[in-house]
């Protein structure tokens, strides 16, 4: 059987697309966006229910919508899009044919069947067990089976990605090391492999339990192993969206990594330490020792946090260096002022970076500190945190990348370019405010996954202070703003992909491999050197350094404010 070796070169970006890979990237991205649409409608319903003045849904529908929202967003939207990113990072960036496209299609359809099956189980009404499906609360067997099929499909897709790397190496489609973005994608894929393994270890017995073949699943064992899947899958997102940040910095600014060594080492730290984070969720649980909790929750002395802090510096640092080399070298912040703020690809990426660091990153370390967790565990502070990481961080970064992919990958002109300019601001800032007010309400004790903070029908209700109600109200309004931003994104992307003006390239044809493809650059024999005469005081990126110091000061202050607050609650040990 002949291998399809047809490629096309994008005339505007010079990127090279393998015909089957291109189709797979498109379909995986589209499946992701459809999940985002479903999840987004559910998001609106959930937000309007948690708005105390509106309380839209009855409790059964609320818990159903919340379960489906979590799965459609956190699993189906993000992982479909990540598979698209993986194929892009391997096939397109390495100018390499995708390994075994047929297997990749099998993976895709397996994921589709799994996602539909899981959604079917939830919408049937007897599987409102939340994203986490903690035992002994049980869901319909199809709920678990759907997730298992989806995970198997995703794992196969990850193997296709690895196979493509092997093909690229064997067929010498690139010289030297893989690009940094591909390296980040490899990080994400390695984390995905052991994450999905953890998922299999816990979901398969749980499925067997749901059909009656296993008699008992221990709740603490479930939480420990499940979070090896649940938290680690968020680390896939981190590795993937950090790669997307680097990619956008390269695409928009032509930015080079400040140093390959530092950025790649930071990715290696992710591989080595992110997997320990299951412990973040078990800090308030009985039956585990403090030694275990402290070591694991800190990713072995915060080495993975260090990695994120490094990326948080090197991504904007690389942009700053590129801008300064272009001549925006005045003062600390000319490079940032003169950045293309009207380009949604850049503005989305930058809001994603800042929001992820300041809101998601700092709050994540608070919750992940053994003792501080006591004043945060299971309050609405927790979803406040992860909407800042997974939505502002991952989803917004993916949205930003879409604005680049529509012309190059789908070969369509962007519809509603004026709206696209505003979309990252409406969505990103709405979501940042949403997260902040959730965290605020959480500080006042408002629980997460809770239909009614007024406890209607309870014999001994608790009365939350008025401030908590106010925060939940502002949270809901911000959430609606974010939903509007999400609707703008869907309108722009779906409109462009299906109805946008086709970008016609005169004389377009797909060519067999190599012919018409730029030859790989020959290795340059120059001596490794630093950057030129830019920056201030020996710092090539002084503006970024100032931003990093502002971040650090906020981090330190907020950290000790939380310890101060902890010291005022009842002594216990």
């Amino acid at each position: 059987m002949a291998v399809n070796r047809n490629f096309r070169t994008c005339p505007s970006t010079g990127l090279v697309y393998h015909e089957p890979a291109e189709k797979l990237i498109r379909w995986n991205a589209v499946a992701g966006v459809v999940s985002l649409l479903v999840g987004g409608v559910l998001a609106l319903l959930v937000t309007l229910t948690r708005w105390p003045a509106v309380k839209l849904l009855p409790p059964d529908w609320f818990y159903l919508a919340l379960t489906a929202h979590g799965l459609d967003m956190l699993v189906f939207w993000i992982i479909f899009f990540e598979i698209a990113v993986l194929y892009f990072a391997a096939s397109t960036l390495l100018k390499c044919r995708l390994a075994t496209p047929k297997v990749a299609w099998a993976a895709f359809w397996l994921m589709i069947v799994g996602a539909l099956m899981n959604n079917f189980a939830v919408f049937k009404g007897d599987s409102s067990v939340m994203f986490t499906s903690y035992v002994p609360m049980g869901a319909h067997p199809l709920f678990y089976l759907g997730l298992i099929l989806f995970a198997v499909g995703a794992l196969i897709a990850v193997f296709v990605f690895f196979g493509t790397l092997v093909v690229g190496k064997a067929e010498k489609t690139y010289n030297g090391s893989v690009p940094l973005v591909t390296f980040g994608a490899i990080t994400a894929a390695i984390i995905a492999t052991f994450t999905i393994a953890a998922g299999a270890i816990i979901l398969i017995p749980t499925f067997l339990w749901s059909v009656g073949l296993v008699s008992h699943i221990d709740s603490l064992m479930y939480r420990t192993v499940w979070w090896g899947f649940g938290h680690s899958s968020q680390q896939i997102n981190v590795a993937a969206h950090v790669s997307v940040w680097y990619a956008i910095a390269a695409i928009v600014f032509g930015a080079k990594p400040m140093s390959e060594k530092v950025s790649r080492m930071a990715f290696v730290l992710y591989i080595l330490f992110l997997q320990l984070a299951s412990a973040h969720h078990l800090l308030a649980d009985p039956g585990l020792t403090s030694n275990w909790k402290i070591f694991n929750t800190s990713y072995a002395m915060y080495l993975a946090v260090l990695a994120s802090m490094v990326h948080g510096l090197t991504v904007p640092g690389a942009i700053e260096v590129a801008q300064r080399e272009k001549g925006f070298n005045k003062g600390f912040f000319e490079w940032l002022r003169k950045a293309p703020w009207g380009n949604p690809c850049f503005s989305g990426m930058f809001i994603s970076l800042v929001g992820f660091g300041f809101l998601g990153g700092i709050s994540g370390v608070m919750m992940g500190t053994e003792q501080l967790n006591l004043i945060i565990h299971n309050t609405i502070y927790v979803p406040g945190h992860f909407h800042a990481t997974v939505v502002v961080g991952t989803t917004l970064a993916f949205m930003a990348l879409t604005y680049f992919l529509i012309p190059t990958l789908f070969r369509r002109e962007l519809m509603f370019p004026g709206m696209a300019k505003w979309q990252p601001y409406v969505y990103g800032l709405g979501m940042c405010a949403f997260s902040v007010f959730m965290m605020g309400a959480g500080t006042l004790g408002v629980p997460r996954r809770h239909w009614d903070m007024a406890f209607s029908g309870a014999i001994l209700p608790h009365e939350f202070p008025g401030t908590a109600y106010l925060m939940m109200g502002i949270m809901a309004v911000s959430g609606i703003a974010a939903v509007v931003g999400g609707a703008m994104y869907l309108l722009i992307t779906v409109g462009s992909v299906f109805f946008g003006r086709k970008i016609e390239t005169p004389g377009f044809k797909r060519v067999p491999v190599r012919e018409g493809m730029a030859p790989p650059p020959a290795p340059v024999a120059v001596a490794p050197a630093g950057h030129g005469a830019i920056g201030l005081g020996g710092f090539v990126a002084p503006g970024t350094f100032v931003l990093a110091m502002i971040f650090l000061v906020s981090f330190v202050l907020y950290y000790f404010v939380n310890w101060k607050y902890l010291s005022t609650v009842w002594p216990m040990n």
Partner: protein, 184 residues
């Protein structure tokens, strides 16, 4: 070459660090160490640490122990459900059951006294969220968690469940009373 191209230099690992990167890595690493050592520090010098003491047990055994405490220390009942309010002696073992969808019994503790609080669920996962203190602990079925607590101020507190436990999750709330120590 940018991040979407292969590095131009084959031996990219020999490129020297920019000063801005090196400085930031050192600062960030020091901060990471501070945060790490803050946790053991608080175990030694801080007063709020979650206990590591827990026992595997069965719902029946746990309910029996709770019942024994209720029989011994009930001072009155509350609400139409006649939920017992117990006032155990300071320093004693205090039991609280979490179950679908209530906490049982209601505890009345003395200000400034220390108690060994046992919590366990007899069915699903639940949450122990003490408001407005905002102390939050996970409750598992089959794991009896023992922690010493010292209420610092008299007043009426709420215990709410903050682990989703089904359709009536939002009704799962109770009270905890802290009173001035009785003069003896």
């Amino acid at each position: 070459m940018t991040a979407i191209h292969s590095p131009a230099q084959r031996v990219w690992w020999k490129q020297p660090l920019d000063r801005v990167e090196g400085t930031w890595i050192v600062i960030a690493f020091v901060w990471c160490l501070v945060m790490f050592f803050m946790m053991p520090y608080w175990h030694i010098y801080g007063k709020q640490n979650l206990s590591n003491e827990a026992y595997r047990t069965t719902p029946e055994a746990y309910v029996a122990k709770t019942q024994a405490m209720v029989d011994k220390y009930t001072v009155r009942t509350a609400t139409e459900q006649n939920i017992p309010v117990v006032h155990p002696v300071p320093g004693s073992d205090v039991y609280l059951i979490a179950r679908l969808w209530n906490f049982w019994p209601i505890l009345e503790l003395e200000e400034g006294q220390t108690y060994k609080l046992h919590i366990m669920s007899t069915d699903w996962l639940h949450g122990f969220s003490l408001q407005p203190e905002n102390i939050n602990v996970q409750i598992h079925p089959g794991y009896e968690h023992v922690m010493t607590i010292t209420p610092t101020k008299e007043g009426t507190y709420s215990i709410i469940c903050n682990e989703y436990c089904g359709i009536n999750h939002h009704t799962m709330a109770s009270k905890l009373y802290v009173v001035k120590p009785k003069k003896s």
